[in-house]
């Protein structure tokens, strides 16, 4: 884990930029996660004091939303859709394949730090199920073979 002292100036700057925004907590958390990859637990105190909230309130918000994370992600985040449409096109088989191939479960990161695996409930790509996303890119009609190809591409980056 990185030292928060190195990240703190980023957090303080983000807090400063959102000073006059109504309902700014989610935009702040997004900005922090976009920049640092996650929300460092040590940042909660700074966020709370800037917004005049308790630390418990800020922590409560971070943990309520599936998307926010408090640990650094792998270099790439793979999301597999678990929703009904993808299930109708055998996403369960794909899910099993991905977990075996990466040798991790959901919410885990591979030992080499390359890939994190997260479930997602629908990406609106239901016309081409099953779908996965790697970082910001969505891929449709993903077979286990296609999954392996994508993994090889990303792993080589």
């Amino acid at each position: 884990m990185q030292d928060y002292q190195n990240q703190r100036s980023t957090v303080l700057q983000i807090l400063d930029e959102h000073q006059s925004m109504p309902g700014s907590l989610l935009p702040i958390l997004h900005a922090i996660q976009d920049t640092l990859g996650y929300i460092p637990p040590a940042a909660v105190a700074d966020i709370a004091s800037a917004l005049h909230l308790s630390k418990a309130e800020v922590h409560g918000v971070i943990t309520f939303y599936h998307y926010f994370r408090e640990t650094p992600p792998g270099k790439h985040t793979i999301r597999i859709c678990r929703a009904e449409s993808c299930q109708s096109m055998n996403s369960k088989g794909l899910e099993k394949h991905a977990k075996a191939k990466l040798n991790i479960d959901y919410h885990e990161t591979t030992a080499d730090g390359q890939f994190s695996l997260e479930p997602v409930y629908c990406m609106g790509n239901c016309a081409c199920s099953p779908s996965i996303a790697i970082d910001d890119e969505v891929y449709g009609r993903v077979t286990p073979e296609k999954f392996d190809q994508l993994l090889a591409c990303k792993g080589a980056e």
Binding site: P22, G23, S24, L25, L26, P27, L29, H30, L51, G60, V61, F64, Y65, H66, Y67, F68, A83, E84, S85, C86, Q87, S88, M89, V120, Y121, C122, M123, G124, N125, C126, A127, C128, S129, S131, A133, D136, E137, V138, Y139, G140, R141
Partner: protein, 514 residues
């Protein structure tokens, strides 16, 4: 310069549209040709994506599905002149899938450059706003009421009535909030509007603002839609630059500001009061109603919360009049519904049709049957809280009341198809599991009941005290239906009980006796 159209729609991108664009750019440049590639929305015929359309003297000619490896042969065959090739489709608008639609809300999607104000204006854009600027707020609301438009987010509440409540609520500040959380599996119409014609949503929200006297709008957009966010922000910037947003809109003295806010992966934030909490920067806990958001909404102020499709249907209503819209449809379901056909289906896509078409026509005439070629066994309409419908019910017409009569819902118009390999006990279990995962936690029947539901289904399937546990499951569903604050807990029993009632054999129970 030849104009080509290749979609920026997420699904087209998920199938390699970007690579096709790059291949065409490189290969035409190498041949010294220059092309102008417009990144349009998708026409919605997803088995043909990535689709390439070329503008010729004889109109637009389409090719698809195009892989980047096909580009060389396409160019050689005369793609730029619209010549013949195995992937040649002709004019996409002449294909029955497209031609038989009633594209009112989706009129421009796939046709225009989504973020070009000029293109928007050239295709009847901002005519609704021009009319609205000449009307009093109450007159705008009347057009919407007359149209018979009902909320497309799921609950089908009359939009005009909601607007009227906000109009008549005195306040120093009011808000227009667009619900772009689109969490239902099998739905993507909101996404396609936001990526393919974001200006129609912006226009609809601006008209809503004029109607009720709101000067600030927010689009609450799910985080899973990064491409929609980009298109919306580009379109909003373009609208500001041309005086369609901001202070003094088109010199009228009226103000409307608009901003996109990102959700963070919580399905419950699609519920309107949870969404408002989230916009205020809190956990998405559902609020008690009353007070209605129309009276006490965002930051305690009167607020219109409407779905993307509801708001995007407003410009055509203000352009052509409430009666024009109302003339489509059947019964109390007026106008059109953009249907989203997904899952195990041969021709998946979006098509906008008037209410009244039957499910069988949708599945077989449009959908062409299952993708696997096996019989269609169960269809879930209306998202994860919608009932599973079986073959015997496929002649039900698309109509809110007709669906209610078979204990089903239309919801947001998503249809997910399963073939005969589906295990409906697993789907019922998943519905409970989803509720465990996504419950906001405020009420016990939803938070705890769903966990118990998973366990009870497991016991039935394992054969432990089958009859007793089936009674228990029904009892639990009853408690969830009547003891939950919102439809998350209240409607999870829909998929569960429909699976149990229509497909008892999947639970190891005798048919007709579950």
């Amino acid at each position: 310069m030849t104009r080509l159209f290749i979609s920026r729609d997420s699904t087209a991108l998920s199938l390699g549209a970007e690579q096709v664009v790059k291949a065409i750019q490189q290969q035409t440049a190498a041949q010294g040709q220059s092309v102008d590639i417009v990144r349009n929305g998708s026409r919605g015929l997803f088995w043909l994506e990535p689709l390439v359309e070329v503008e010729t003297a004889a109109g637009r000619v389409a090719y698809g599905p195009v892989n980047s490896a096909d580009v060389a042969s396409l160019l050689e065959a005369g793609l730029l002149e619209g010549k013949s090739h195995p992937l040649y489709l002709g004019n996409i608008e002449e294909l029955p899938y497209f031609k038989n639609q009633n594209r009112l809300t989706f009129a421009r999607v796939g046709l225009t450059d989504p973020v070009s104000i000029d293109d928007y204006l050239a295709h009847d854009g901002y005519r609704g706003l021009q009319n609205a600027l000449k009307l009093q707020g109450a007159e705008i609301v009347k057009q919407v009421t007359d149209s018979g438009l009902r909320g497309r987010g799921g609950a089908a509440f009359p939009t005009g009535i909601k607007w009227n409540t906000v109009l008549n609520a005195p306040a120093d500040q009011k808000y227009i909030v667009c619900n772009a959380d689109e969490g239902d599996s099998g739905t993507f119409s909101d996404r396609m509007i936001m990526e393919g014609d974001p200006l129609v949503l912006i226009e609809g929200m601006t008209i809503a603002g004029l109607a009720v006297g709101a000067t600030q709008g927010y689009i609450y957009l799910r985080i899973e839609y990064p491409h929609a966010k980009q298109a919306l922000n580009q379109a909003i910037a373009a609208a500001y630059a041309r005086g369609y947003l901001g202070e003094n809109i088109l010199g009228s003295g009226k103000t409307f500001h608009l901003e996109v806010r990102s959700g963070a992966g919580a399905y419950i934030c699609g519920e309107e009061t949870s969404l408002l909490e989230s916009l205020e920067g809190k956990r998405g806990l559902v609020r008690f109603k009353p007070p209605l958001p129309a009276i006490v909404g965002l930051f305690g102020k009167p607020t219109i919360v409407n779905n993307v499709i509801s708001l995007a249907s407003v410009p055509v209503i203000l352009d052509k009049g409430g009666e024009f819209y109302r003339d489509y449809g059947m019964g109390r379901s007026r106008g059109t519904l953009p249907l989203q056909l997904a899952g195990n289906i041969k021709y998946p896509g979006l098509f906008e049709v008037a209410f009244g078409i039957t499910l069988r026509e949708i599945l077989y005439d449009y959908g062409g049957g299952s993708a696997s070629g096996r019989p269609i066994r169960a269809v879930q309409v209306g998202g994860p809280l919608g009932a599973y419908v079986h073959e015997g019910q496929f002649d039900t017409p698309l109509d809110y009341e007709a669906f209610a009569a078979i204990q089903a819902v239309l919801g947001h118009g998503g249809i997910v198809v399963h073939d005969d390999t589906v295990n409906m006990a697993e789907m019922a279990r998943y519905a409970m599991e989803f509720c465990v995962e996504e419950s906001c936690g405020k009420c016990t029947p939803c938070r705890i009941g769903s966990t118990r539901g998973v366990e009870v289904i497991d016991r039935i399937v394992a054969g432990t005290d089958k009859d007793q546990n089936t009674v228990l499951l029904r009892d639990l569903c009853n408690t969830m239906t009547f003891g939950s604050l919102c439809a998350m807990g209240g409607m999870t029993p829909f998929p569960v009980l429909s699976a149990l009632n229509h497909f008892p054999e999947d639970f190891g129970l005798p048919k007709g006796k579950a």
